[in-house]
């Protein structure tokens, strides 16, 4: 079992290293991630949202619905934790072992 896990880890790691060869270099200012959409946000953040912090303006203004969905995720997780951890009154005598 452990040997199988090591083999799987090495295989996936090798695949990831092979994939990393096509990635942009560390700190490349012209990498694809920072050359298409993000300059728009940096240029127009003040104009559109009057917020100097671009992360805040994207999180709360441009992607507001995403943040709303995120609160739904937290709410669901909280409800799940409460449902799992509350004291079960009906089943209390049933625990085996």
């Amino acid at each position: 079992m452990k040997i199988l896990s090591v083999i799987a880890g090495v295989l996936v790691g090798a695949a990831l290293i092979y994939g990393a060869l096509d990635m942009p270099k560390w700190g490349d200012p012209h990498s694809p991630a920072s050359s298409h959409v993000s300059p728009y946000y940096l240029r127009h953040s003040i104009e559109h949202t009057a917020t100097p912090n671009v992360v805040t303006s994207v999180l709360a203004d441009y992607r507001g619905y995403d943040t709303l969905g995120e609160t739904t995720v937290v709410f669901t997780a909280g409800i799940a934790c409460i449902l799992l951890l509350r004291k079960g009154r009906k089943r209390q005598g049933k625990r085996h072992v």
Partner: protein, 137 residues
């Protein structure tokens, strides 16, 4: 060869971290150790995304300097064109990882709650012992 290794070193670190978490999720029998492995895995992904936002050469956090002041002083409708985008880090990975951190905390909380329930019921967190108890009925 050395230059090649150095210019991609961030990816090697993430791949190492990710494989540590992957191995822990697969090979460890203790459920808490599995959860720790899952957290290491998710942290590796978050570090990877954050590292894509880095730009070399005098880059600061994406908070526009004197943003309000410049806008008011110039009286410009489109004063935003003065922003030098090479001066600020890419804000998008930061935003996406804020969301991912929230999801990570949510999954961690639910996983720990499930682990507590398993411990209450079987009095153990070792996977093989739980399977043995399940087979016995």
């Amino acid at each position: 060869m050395f230059d090649f290794i150095v210019s991609y070193y961030n990816y090697w670190v993430f791949i190492g971290l990710m494989m540590v978490g992957f191995y822990a999720m697969m090979a460890k029998r203790n459920l808490i150790k599995k959860i720790i492995g899952m957290n290491i895995f998710q942290s590796a992904i978050i570090f990877f995304y954050i590292s894509t936002s880095v730009k070399k050469g005098g880059v600061t956090v994406p908070i526009l300097e004197h943003g309000h002041a410049a806008h008011a002083a110039d009286g410009l409708e489109h004063g935003a064109h003065a922003v030098d985008i090479m001066q600020y880090a890419n804000p998008l990975p930061h935003v996406l990882m804020l969301t991912a951190i929230v999801v990570m905390v949510a999954t961690l909380g639910v996983a720990l709650a499930v682990a507590i329930m398993i411990y209450r019921r079987y009095n153990t967190l070792e996977e093989d012992e739980i399977i043995k108890l399940l087979r016995r009925g």
